[in-house]
C-alpha cells in the first residue's frame, strides 16, 4: 500500500515537473547563411514549446534551401555535411528552475548530447517597438556565443523562452537575428494550448557531456578532417577551400 502511494505521488510530482501543460507552441523559420560557405545555407522550420518553467526548441523540417542558383561565394566543391539520417534532431531543452540546458550538438553528421548551465545573455532593452502578428514587440540586443543578436520580444506573452538558446527576456522572443546577418529566426505562427504536445528531452545518443568537453572534441575532429582533406587534395594542387557549417561558430567558451 505504501509503495503504491509513493508511486502515485511520484507520478504526480513527475508529471507536474516533466509533463506540465504546454502553454504555447511557436513555429519559427530558422535561416543560417554562413558567409564563408554559401553552399552550406540552411532554412528549416523549428518549433518552440514552453510553459512557465521549461522550454523545448527543435528542428521540425528538412533543409529547404533551393538548389537553383550560383551564389556569390559559391566557388567550392559542394561537399555538404548534412545532419544524416540517424533519427536524431537538433534540440534545446531548458529548465528555468534548475537552470539547466540540454541539447543535441553536431560535429558533421554525428550528434552529441551536451548539458550545460543556462547562461542568460546580458540583454539591453531599447525603446524600439514594432508589431509582429498581433503582438506589440520591443527590441533588445545582446552579445551571445560570439555574435551580436537583436531580438524582438513581447511582454504580452510572459515567458523567458525564445528560439534556439536565446532566452531571458521579460517576454517571449518572436524574432531574432544576428547583426552579421548569418543567423535569423523568423516568427511564423503561435498556437495557444496546443493539443498532444509534451516538453521533454528528445532522443539522444550516448552519455551527456559538458560543454567544455564537447568543444575540445570538436576542435580535434575539425583539425583531423582538415588534415585528411589536405592530404587528398595535394595531387590536384591548390585552389580548394575547406569550410564547415558551424552555426554557433567555435566559441562556446567564456560563458
Amino acid at each position: 500500500m505504501k509503495k503504491i502511494l509513493i508511486i502515485i505521488i511520484y507520478l504526480l510530482v513527475f508529471s507536474k515537473s516533466n509533463g506540465q501543460n504546454v502553454v504555447a507552441k511557436v513555429l519559427y523559420r530558422q535561416q543560417e547563411i554562413p558567409k564563408q560557405n554559401a553552399a552550406a545555407k540552411r532554412d528549416v522550420d523549428c518549433i518552440l514549446l514552453f510553459n512557465s518553467s521549461q522550454s523545448l526548441y527543435y528542428e521540425a523540417s528538412k533543409n529547404r534551401v533551393p538548389n537553383l542558383k550560383s551564389g556569390a561565394n559559391d566557388n567550392v566543391e559542394n561537399v555538404e555535411f548534412d545532419s544524416g539520417n540517424d533519427g536524431l534532431v537538433f534540440f534545446n531543452y531548458q529548465d528555468y528552475q534548475s537552470k539547466k540546458l540540454s541539447s543535441n550538438e553536431a560535429i558533421f553528421s554525428r550528434k552529441y548530447f551536451v548539458q550545460e548551465k543556462i547562461v542568460v545573455p546580458k540583454w539591453v532593452i531599447t525603446k524600439e517597438y514594432k508589431k509582429i502578428g498581433s503582438f506589440k514587440c520591443q527590441k533588445a540586443k545582446a552579445f551571445y556565443r560570439n555574435r551580436n543578436y537583436m531580438a524582438w520580444f513581447t511582454t504580452e506573452i510572459p515567458s523567458l523562452a525564445g528560439p534556439w538558446k536565446l532566452q531571458g527576456l521579460p517576454g517571449l522572443i518572436l524574432e531574432a537575428e544576428s547583426e552579421d546577418g548569418e543567423v535569423k529566426f523568423l516568427f511564423e505562427s503561435l498556437i495557444f494550448n496546443p493539443k498532444n504536445e509534451k516538453i521533454a528531452i528528445l532522443k539522444t545518443y550516448g552519455k551527456p557531456m559538458t560543454l567544455a568537453d564537447f568543444v575540445e572534441i570538436r576542435k580535434k575532429v575539425l583539425r583531423d578532417t582538415k588534415k585528411s582533406f589536405e592530404s587528398k587534395m595535394t595531387q590536384f594542387g591548390g585552389g580548394y577551400e575547406f569550410n564547415v557549417n558551424t552555426f554557433s561558430k567555435e566559441n562556446f567558451l567564456s560563458q
Binding site: P66, S70, A72, Q97, G133, F135, Q138, G239
Partner: protein
C-alpha cells in the same frame, strides 16, 4: 512655547527626511512573493519595472517559492511594477523609488483558452541573397483567377500587355513550379492558366543557373520565378475546373490537373473562352542555341524568333475590355525521372485562336512632296492554329558529366485580310489583300557538359534547324495594275521561304583561386535560305525586270567570345568581348559580302548593403544582315512592301546602356526599383540601295542616321503599417527619336514622348470591409520636324470595395472610369464591375456571379489611327469545382 517649536521642528525634519531623504538612496531593491488566489506560490512569473514612458528598466522572475528580488538604480521618483504570469491576469502598481516589499496575489484568467492560432506577419517580402520571396496572401484580394493576376500585384514585378513578366526591370527566363520546369520558356501557359488559389509563395531568383552541374562556375544573368504551392498541393495530385457562361453567348472554361509527387511531375491544362482572355499571347520560342553568357543588351541567338504573334494593345485598357475571340488551348507537360541518371522532359500544346479584330487605321505620308493619306480597315484573324512539341532527354552517367538531346517541332497557321484605300492628289486606289501563312519548323539539338576538378567545365552543343514559311496573298489593286500594265484581273502571290541552319558551339569556363570567373566561347553557324515569289494573274505569270522573284543566299558565321566576372568585395565586375565573322553569298545577284565586327560588353553590380544594390551595364551589338534585309523590294511580302523598289544590306548596330538601383528593405516592408535605359540604333552599312519606284514611302528605307531612346521605369511599394495600407506606385517615361533618310539625305526626324504612372492603395484591415483606390495616367505624343502630329492621353481613376462578412461569402465591386482622348477625339467610358462568390463550407464547389457593366461610349480611338470596339456589358455565372485529390505513387 519652546516645546511647541521643538515639536514643530522635529516634525518638519521628519517630513523633510521623508520627502527628500529617499532621493539620497541611489540603489534600491524590491522583493516579494507572487501567489495565486489559493495562496500557492507561482513560479515562472515575470516582474517588470518600467518608467512612465513604458521603457523597461529591470525585470526578474519568481522562483519555485514564488519569490523574486529586483535591484535597480533610481533616476526618478516613481516606477510602474507589473507582474505577468501565463494563465493569470496581470497586475500593475506604481511604487516609489525605495527599497520595499511588494506581494501579489493573481487571479486566474476567467476563460479557459482554447487552442488558438495566431499567425505571424508572414512578412510579405523576404530577401535572402538573390532570392526575393513574396507571401501571396498578403497581396491577393480574392479577385485573382490565375497566377498572372497575382504577379501583377507583387512589388518589383511587371506584367506587360502580352503577359511578358519582368522582375526589377529584367525579363524573366522561365517560371518553375516547385523547382520544376514546365513548358520551358513559354511560361505564359502557366502564368495565364494556372489557378491563383494554389499559390502560397512566389520566389524571384536572380542569377539563376540552368544547370546544377555548372553551379559556381557559370556566370548567370537570368532571373526565374519559382511558384511555391500550398502545403497540401505538394503531396497529392490536384486540379481545378472552372466553367462560366454569360450573356451574349459568352463562355469561359478552364481545367488544370497537376501532380508533383515522386518521380513523375505532370501538368495538364485545358482552356477555352470567347471573353478576350488570350491563354498564350506571345511565344518565346527561339529555335537555335542560346548563349548563356550573352548579357542583357546582346541577343546572340543565331536565328530570329520563329513564331510570334502581335496582339493589339492599348496601354491602360485591359484586353478583355475590347477583345472578342474564340480560343482554346490544350497543353500537357511531363517531367519523369526514369532512373536516378536518366530524366525525360516533354511537353506539347495546341492552340486555336480566332481573335478577330477589326481595326481602322489612318496614315498620312509625304510622297514626292505631296500628301498621301492612307486609311485602311484591318480584319485580323491571328493564329488560327498553333502546335508546339518538345522532348528532351538528360543523362548524367556520373556526377561530372551531362548528356542531353532536345527535339522540338512547331507548326502555325494564320491569316489576315486588309482593305485599304489611299488618296493623294494624283490618284486614288482601293486595295484588298488576303494573306495566309503556314509555318513549320523542327530543331534537333545535342549537348555535352563535363565538369573538371578545380572548378572548370567544358560544354559542347550542336544543332540543326529547318524552317518553312510559305505565304499566299491575293491582291486586288488598281494601282498594282498600273505597275504591271500587262496584267489583267487580280494577282496572286505565292511565296516560299525555307531556312536551314547548322550550328556548333563550345564553351570553356572556370574559376580562378581569386574567385574570378572566366569563359571562352567559340561558335560556328551555316545558314542557307531560299525565298521565291511567284506572281500570277488570270492571264498567267507576271515577270518584270525591275522586280526579282527569287533569292537564294548562304551565310557563314563564326564568333569567338571571352568574358570574365570578378568579385571585388561588394562589387561584381563583368566584362566581355566577342569577335564575329560573317560571309554572305547571294547567287542570283552575284553578291558576296564579308563582315567582321566586335561586340563589347561591360557591367557591374554593387551591393551597397543587404537591402540596396546598384547595377550598370553597357553593350554594343552589331549584327549581320538577315534575309529580310536582303529581300525587301525583291519580293512582295505585303501591300506596303511591294511599292518599294530597293535592295540593300542593312547591318543594324545598337548600343545599350542600363543603370538601375534597387532597395528591398523587407523588415520595413518597402521595396523600390528604378532603372534608366538608353538605346541607340543605326544602320551604318547600307549598300546597293536602288530606288526605282516613284511611290516610295518615306521611312521604310533603312536609315543610316541614329535613332535613340531613353526609358525610365520605377516601381515603389510600401506597407504603411500604422494605416494598414498597401501602397504601390509605378512610373515610366520614354523618349524615342526616329529619323529617316534616303541616299544620306535626311527626310524626316521625329520623336515619340511618353509618360505614365499608376498609384494603387489597398487597405488590409482585419474587419469585414476593405477598400481599394487607384489612379492611372498615360500620355504620349509624336512630334515630327518640330510639329506635333498628335497626342494620346488616358486617365483612369479606380475605386473598389471588398466585403467578407463570413468565410462563405465574398463581395467585391470596382468602379473604373476611363477618359481616352487625343487631339481629334475623346472617348469616355465607365465600367462598373461586381463579383459575388459563395463557397459552401466543406464543399469543393465555388460559385461566382460576376458582371462587367459598360456605361458610355462603346468605341475608343487611340493614337489617331485605330478604333477599338469596347465590349458591352457582360454577366457570367461561374461554377468552379476543385477536383478530388488523387494520390498515387509512381
Amino acid at each position: 512655547m519652546t516645546l511647541r517649536f521643538l515639536i514643530l521642528g522635529l516634525c518638519l525634519m521628519a517630513f523633510l527626511q521623508e520627502t527628500f531623504g529617499q532621493h539620497k538612496e541611489l540603489t534600491f531593491s524590491i522583493q516579494g512573493k507572487v501567489t495565486n488566489s489559493s495562496s500557492q506560490p507561482l513560479a515562472g512569473g515575470i516582474l517588470i519595472i518600467s518608467k512612465a514612458d513604458s521603457s523597461i528598466v529591470s525585470y526578474a522572475t519568481t522562483d519555485e517559492k514564488g519569490e523574486y528580488t529586483l535591484e535597480l538604480e533610481a533616476d526618478t521618483s516613481h516606477y510602474l511594477l507589473t507582474v505577468n504570469n501565463l494563465g493569470y491576469i496581470s497586475q500593475s502598481r506604481w511604487i516609489m523609488a525605495r527599497s520595499q516589499t511588494q506581494h501579489f496575489q493573481l487571479e486566474q484568467e476567467p476563460t479557459q483558452l482554447r487552442q488558438v492560432t495566431v499567425k505571424g506577419d508572414l512578412l510579405p517580402i523576404r530577401v535572402n541573397e538573390d532570392t526575393t520571396s513574396f507571401s501571396v496572401q498578403k497581396f491577393a484580394d480574392g479577385t485573382e483567377r490565375v497566377v498572372e493576376d497575382i504577379l501583377k500585384k507583387l512589388p518589383g514585378v511587371r506584367v506587360d500587355d502580352k503577359g511578358g513578366i519582368s522582375f526589377k526591370g529584367k525579363p524573366i527566363d522561365k517560371i518553375l513550379l516547385e523547382g520544376d520546369e514546365f513548358f520551358a520558356k513559354n511560361y505564359r501557359i502557366l502564368s495565364k492558366n494556372l489557378s491563383a488559389d494554389l499559390l502560397d509563395k512566389v520566389e524571384a531568383i536572380e542569377n539563376a543557373s540552368n544547370t546544377p552541374l555548372l553551379k559556381g562556375i557559370e556566370r548567370s544573368d537570368k532571373t526565374v520565378l519559382n511558384l511555391k504551392l500550398k502545403e497540401d498541393r505538394r503531396k497529392t495530385a490536384f486540379g481545378t475546373a472552372d466553367l462560366a457562361a454569360g450573356l451574349t453567348r459568352r463562355y469561359e472554361g478552364r481545367t488544370t490537373l497537376f501532380s508533383l509527387v515522386d518521380r513523375l511531375k505532370l501538368g495538364v491544362i485545358g482552356s477555352a473562352n470567347n471573353t478576350g482572355k488570350n491563354p498564350v499571347p506571345e511565344l518565346n520560342y527561339d529555335l537555335g542555341n542560346e548563349n548563356p553568357n550573352a548579357s542583357d543588351g546582346q541577343n546572340q541567338h543565331p536565328s530570329r524568333p520563329f513564331l510570334q504573334a502581335q496582339p493589339i494593345a492599348v496601354p491602360g485598357i485591359s484586353a478583355e475590355r475590347f477583345n472578342q475571340n474564340r480560343v482554346w488551348l490544350g497543353a500537357v507537360n511531363l517531367n519523369l525521372n526514369i532512373t536516378s541518371k536518366l530524366k525525360v522532359k516533354a511537353f506539347t500544346y495546341q492552340l486555336s485562336d480566332r481573335n478577330t479584330q477589326q481595326i481602322s487605321n489612318r496614315y498620312e505620308y509625304l510622297l514626292e512632296g505631296k500628301s498621301l493619306v492612307v486609311s485602311d480597315t484591318q480584319r485580323l484573324e491571328i493564329r488560327p492554329s498553333l502546335r508546339v512539341s518538345q522532348v528532351a532527354l538528360e543523362y548524367t552517367p556520373n556526377q561530372t558529366t551531362l548528356l542531353k538531346w532536345r527535339g522540338n517541332w512547331q507548326g502555325q497557321r494564320d491569316g489576315s485580310s486588309y482593305q485599304i484605300a489611299s488618296h493623294n492628289p494624283d490618284f486614288s486606289e482601293k486595295l484588298q489583300q488576303w494573306m495566309s501563312t503556314r509555318q513549320k519548323g523542327i530543331q534537333q539539338e545535342l549537348g555535352y557538359i563535363h565538369r573538371f576538378p578545380r572548378n572548370r567545365a567544358l560544354t559542347l552543343d550542336a544543332y540543326y534547324q529547318h524552317q518553312n514559311r510559305p505565304q499566299q496573298l491575293l491582291v486586288e489593286s488598281g494601282r498594282f495594275r498600273s505597275l504591271f500594265p500587262t496584267t489583267e484581273g487580280n494577282v496572286t502571290q505565292r511565296i516560299s521561304n525555307e531556312v536551314q541552319t547548322y550550328g556548333v558551339q563550345t564553351r570553356w569556363m572556370g574559376v580562378f583561386p581569386s574567385k574570378q570567373k572566366y569563359a571562352l566561347l567559340g561558335k560556328g553557324v551555316y545558314l542557307s535560305e531560299g525565298l521565291t515569289s511567284g506572281l500570277n494573274t488570270e492571264a498567267g505569270s507576271v515577270t518584270d525586270s525591275l522586280y526579282r522573284n527569287q533569292l537564294n543566299y548562304q551565310k557563314w558565321q563564326g564568333s569567338l567570345e571571352a568574358n570574365t566576372a570578378i568579385p571585388l568585395g561588394r562589387l561584381d565586375f563583368y566584362a566581355g568581348i566577342s569577335l564575329n565573322f560573317v560571309q554572305l553569298k547571294e547567287q542570283s545577284l552575284g553578291l558576296r559580302a564579308k563582315f567582321v565586327f566586335l561586340n563589347p560588353m561591360i557591367g557591374f553590380t554593387y551591393r551597397i548593403n543587404q537591402e540596396n544594390k546598384l547595377r550598370a551595364y553597357y553593350s554594343r551589338n552589331q549584327s549581320q544582315p538577315n534575309a529580310m534585309d536582303l529581300i525587301n523590294g525583291y519580293v512582295l511580302t505585303n501591300y506596303r512592301a511591294f511599292q518599294r523598289g530597293y535592295a540593300g544590306l542593312n547591318r543594324p548596330q545598337s548600343d545599350v546602356f542600363t543603370f538601375s538601383y534597387s532597395n528591398s528593405d523587407w523588415l520595413r516592408q518597402f521595396s523600390m526599383h528604378t532603372s534608366v535605359t538608353y538605346l541607340s540604333e543605326k544602320s551604318p552599312s547600307i549598300s546597293q540601295v536602288l530606288v526605282n519606284d516613284q511611290f516610295t514611302f518615306m521611312g521604310q528605307v533603312p536609315s543610316p542616321a541614329r535613332n535613340e531612346s531613353y526609358e525610365l521605369a520605377s516601381d515603389l511599394s510600401k506597407y504603411l503599417s500604422a494605416l494598414e495600407i498597401n501602397s504601390t506606385l509605378q512610373l515610366n517615361a520614354g523618349w524615342n527619336s526616329y529619323q529617316s533618310a534616303l541616299n544620306s539625305a535626311l527626310i524626316s526626324k521625329g520623336a515619340i514622348r511618353s509618360l505614365g504612372g499608376k498609384l494603387t492603395l489597398r487597405t488590409a484591415f482585419d474587419g469585414i470591409v476593405n477598400f481599394e483606390v487607384g489612379y492611372e495616367d498615360h500620355w504620349s505624343d509624336v512630334q515630327e520636324l518640330g510639329i506635333s502630329l498628335g497626342y494620346n492621353r488616358l486617365r483612369k481613376p479606380i475605386a473598389g470595395i471588398k466585403m467578407t462578412p463570413s468565410k462563405s461569402w465574398y463581395f467585391i465591386t470596382t468602379s473604373e472610369w476611363t477618359d481616352l482622348r487625343n487631339n481629334t477625339s475623346q472617348n469616355q467610358f465607365y465600367f462598373l464591375d461586381a463579383l459575388v462568390r459563395f463557397t459552401p463550407l466543406r464543399k469543393r464547389v465555388v460559385y461566382e456571379l460576376s458582371g462587367k457593366n459598360l456605361l458610355g461610349s462603346p468605341t475608343a480611338t487611340y493614337s489617331q489611327l485605330s478604333n477599338f470596339l469596347i465590349s458591352q456589358s457582360t454577366y457570367q455565372l461561374v461554377a468552379r469545382y476543385i477536383l478530388a485529390r488523387v494520390e498515387f505513387n509512381f
